[in-house]
Symmetry: D2
Subunit: 407 residues, 4 copies
């Protein structure tokens, strides 16, 4: 029978509100500003209504501000972050291209798979779990052959490992290779100066540090990337991802003219508009500083209660999320529900090699100092309930010290 | 330039959303469940639409469950909690009636004023700030003359002092006096067994432990109270508060029939319906236990960081809120904005005698353990930023200990 | 048993959204702008938060613009429109005052009852059903004795009869009597120039032409009214309605200072702020013109399909609502559900003498031309389904002619 | 001055709410039920939270009920309807496959382009504007060579032309060709019995007759289609569209297990859940009947006022939308803004050959009878204002006659 029994709506919480007041502290989706959610739930207008044209056009412009890429070409597309990864590869990789993937986890590995899908000759430099690939190693590889496309994950959501994009941007210029930054867990939170650092393409998804519910793929491509795409010898192998279809749309809306390729996700674009405005209002620099301070403090707090973390060095640790290992004898199935009971939702592991050994906490977007106290409190509560023996409150004390440190 | 002119949507936060993600921890309004807010913001229907009749009727019935008063008559009226105070007095006090007010703060004092407004001969037993009036003292007063009406504040929002209603209910029966419980800061959070304890009238406002935005006055009157009202010799001196207008409405809707006196606050009633259901779903007993545990733990946390509190003894301390004094040398103007900066909104003082010496924190309704960690964290942060010297983290540690205590 | 069976939430429509897409065309509550509903459903902030002080303060100021009363003192109070009626009487009537009530329906009659409640010597001039009381008759009565307070209903929601306030304002000045306009079904829709016309007090409720869900009583009092109140010899007989409690609050917030008497209905005030802004943005004059045009056109449409209307002359007919009689042989129980089936919710009768003989349609606030077509279409459909024989489509044709008439 | 400075909250409408109360009657997005919008705007939960797993799992199951395809495999993917078109081609077409496209407008033509993108040998049978391709012509083509894949547009949004899928399903079986129905403007509104009629793949987008804001691509594939895909000799040429990534996700969630490929559009899926439930609650058959009746009535109304329509015969006309030509001398630039002024938003032309000669009106999803009256009223108003001379009201009369016809 194909009519599901659940059509007898029983669960009021599940229906009216997906979530009660529990704090969502996973590495995306995160907690969003009420204003963003209100925009998402407002009655839909026409995708060619003057108000919407203004909102869509402005959002395209605001993307440049958030990506710090004044000359870039933004794309706002209905889809997930994975679509952003795929779209960039689809447009910039041709059969036989040499592609260098620098992988620091699940999403780096995924890019290897994507690039192969487009017929690339892929070399993948895999970091050890929790480690990075050093600039020297990357440069050594670039010397070996002529690469067209080099991609790396700014923050890999599976490991919380952060890579410094700046030297990679420099290598890109030096060796004439397009640099592609997977910013899904970084843009809007980590320092990411696309134009200044010479990153050719950066992309993200709405539900991370941008602060908008999942459903939009966001890309900014440099003039060089656009130029490379224009010089393709072959057609992009799929239709929905082809910039040929999207570029005229982005240009038209930014010039406040309606245009049609595919119906934009009207409500989502309005929510994005509110989210981008809120970033610009806070100031991109201030936002980076806040994320940096929060990330460092939260990680010190985890260390203070004896939790080792996936990133092997603090300098590899993301600002937007943390990835602590479970203490010995404590398993996800025990800990996570207890943390939830104390009011906070965190995420289990994702990286294949260590999947059941660690958990993940997002602290990005509209996150506040008080959320960090709430989260470390709930984590400590959960650990205590699981019988973990440690210096109770040490996490919070470390958080206090770090957050209140005079710089 | 990449910052679009439309980014100067001025005061976007003030408009679309009253509040950003800051945690509202004042003693009402508090943080509400998303489901409640969604019901409030849904398109309004007719006050005589079948769906609304069902919702209003059910809400009236559910009130009995929340007030633990199976024989009581509920009233749901558009207005503030002050209207509830006033309406009870307006209907039950006549010129010349002897009224005994037991005051433990601002709201007790206010009832003295209200009762006088209706021509009562009022005796007011004032507790010292932070103290209560003992049962003996009340009984001694009841022996002096024949009172018709005795009122007390279950939890006075200005002092966080809680009074035990049970012995007062007993005195009421013994001396044949109507007992009126101001439950504005208690019903839905504190233990309040209206019928079992012989409380004749209890009232509250929606925005407190009931968990619904401000705008509704909620009253449950015992058969004895209704009977006393029916035997009035004079008319109720105002129109809007007269139960003669409201009783038929409550009866009609509970019998699922439309009726008209004044247009009900349709959206608010729908939000109340969701709020009451959520209380019943949690269970009134479980909810009382949760509030009790949270209140005690939070107050221990405040003590642990050296903050004296207004209630003179722990047994007088409310479960729904706390009222700590500022440490010496620290003023509201310095501390409260710093706590806000850390992400939590708390309230200043209200009691005239100590207004500038203390602040107030609400922890009721949909409050979660993680909110307590967030709040104590923000309070400690604020104190630290103000230069207060203490054992940092001690608040959180105390919170942990108390919340994790095995009973 | 006091836990209602309906706590097993079954009805998704009733819960998440009170109403489906049906068009609410009753004379209040009406359809509201999405922006107003969004403000209502946003997370609640503190009643003393800076953003809220700004919103509340601005709303008080904006009230003067909407009531066209630059010198007036606005009051924004949690409660229904009936509270507004009651509050004005409670503050301006003292025992023994002579009060003249000009009644054109249910709400005029109600004011007679209210005024008596405050000990007034009330003379009530009752219009015939559908008629008005002429200025001559009113003046003749004013000559008989010295009145303190004269009240009339601008548009009586029970009859759709509109009274011209201007000559009554003049009589007020001539005879030194306070003129009180019940604007519940008029302010924000009908022409109402409070200051220019010398009306001393005007009041309304949020859910009518102001365009905000029910829950707020709105009053503007002239300096003369405030002065009269200040010169009272006796206390206002109830507490919640006493302007002594409210005036300092309104003044404080308008001066952007927090103050406390009763917790304001925070969400409602934010919704009102959006609603008042939307009126000012449209322009009060433009809004009056729109309502006038729509009201006239809709009433012509009703006439064109043979429906007689309660107001005995077109000049007595409100712009904000219509009150057609059922054609012979057609009853509410048959017609109204059929109109609902066609997508529009209208209201049954309210006036005691003719309750079952007519129905009521609101067309105020954010109403659009298309809503009129929808409504007349649904009414015609319903009539047809009930077997009423008439010139189908005649209503719409009349609507077209009138709406498209060149002035 | 009584107009407060804060009233210049610029562009309040554009920000808080995308749209005022104007009725959105374009052929997608359309007006959505409030319950759907509330679900969309609720605070986001984790994509692996138990509540969400239930909602996502149920939605997958409910898709079968709406597509009338008990054995089919549903896919719910973040993206636009164009993604659905592309995904089906990407998974089912391989280099060199023979593909037959039956085009009745813009979207048929688009499929020709998409199929070519995947290396297909495409034959496209183009209907004349407003016409269809007869079954005979299709069969004749199928006899010519062996086709793998035959696609047609059930209702082409550019022309409002509807094709009867049943004989095409039969041809599919007879000639062993996969039949692919573009149901973007049909599923949830038009009669579409996927399994009974032997349609191998049907797809749509959320914002059409399904009744959920744009952002989701929805596909149901028959076992035969899945089998064909499984037997591919080559890899799907792009990553995001590859069913290899999505099939395990759909299976996992339907079995109420979390799984990860790309973060689902959590809020959108919740909105879809409400939308699908609402369809099942109405009943798919009842919904088809309603759309059929409304479509026919609305088109008769357009004819009655002299507007010719793009579909050359009534039997080719869609139930979900209409496409009238402008009367001579009337242009889009004049008419559409006037219809908007009367309260209704309709769409301009899309089909290249006749783009400036016609307009488009959607009447699908949660559309009500009253919306049709509103729309024909606004269209007549607009035409009148443009100086079009005709029998005013004739549209509404025709609408009445048709809607009230006894079957």
């Amino acid at each position: 029978m194909y009519i599901d029994k659940t059509s007898n709506i029983l669960n009021i919480k599940a229906i009216i509100a997906m979530k009660d007041r529990s704090l969502l502290m996973i590495p995306g989706p995160v907690e969003f500003e009420p204003a963003v959610l209100q925009a998402l739930g407002a009655p839909t207008t026409s995708h060619v209504a003057p108000d919407f044209i203004e909102i869509f056009g402005s959002s395209i412009s605001l993307m440049r501000g958030v990506f710090l890429c004044p000359s870039g070409q933004p794309f706002i597309i209905a889809g997930s972050g994975t679509l952003a990864m795929d779209m960039v590869a689809a447009n910039l990789i041709e059969q036989g291209d040499n592609v260098l993937v620098v992988s620091t986890g699940y999403f780096g590995d995924r890019y290897e798979e994507i690039a192969k899908r487009y017929g690339a000759e892929v070399t993948c430099l895999h970091a050890a779990v929790g480690g990075i690939v050093t600039t020297d190693v990357i440069e050594a590889e670039l010397k070996k052959k002529s690469y067209k496309f080099l991609t790396f994950t700014h923050v890999d959501t599976s490991t919380a490992v952060k890579v410094n994009p700046k030297p990679i941007g420099e290598l890109g210029k030096k060796y004439g290779v397009l640099t592609v930054l997977d910013g899904v867990c970084s843009v809007g939170g980590e320092e990411m100066r696309q134009e200044e650092w010479g990153i050719d393409v950066a992309f993200t998804a709405s539900q991370k540090a941008i602060g908008v519910p999942p459903g939009l793929a966001l890309i900014v491509a440099s003039p060089k990337a656009i130029d490379t795409w224009k010089k393709r010898k072959t057609n992009v192998t799929n239709f929905y991802s082809d910039w040929k279809n999207w570029l005229p749309i982005m240009e038209a809306y930014e010039n406040r003219k309606p245009s049609y390729f595919a119906t934009p996700a009207v409500n989502h674009v309005c929510a994005l508009f509110v989210g981008l405005n809120s970033i610009i209002k806070e100031g991109v620099e201030a936002r980076i500083t806040r994320h940096h301070k929060f990330g460092k403090a939260f990680q010190k707090a985890l260390s203070a209660i004896g939790l080792k973390q996936v990133p092997l060095k603090q300098e590899y640790a993301a600002s937007t999320m943390s990835a602590p290992y479970y203490p010995e004898g404590i398993a996800a199935s025990g800990l996570l529900p207890k943390i939830k009971q104390a009011g906070v939702i965190v995420a289990g592991g994702l990286h294949q090699q260590i999947k059941d050994k660690y958990f993940r906490i997002g602290h990005m977007g509209a996150v506040k100092e008080s959320d960090l106290y709430a989260t470390i409190g709930a984590v400590e509560s959960g650990l205590h309930a699981c019988g973990y023996s440690y210096d109770m409150g040490a996490g919070t004390i470390a958080l206090h010290e770090e957050l209140n440190r005079k710089e």
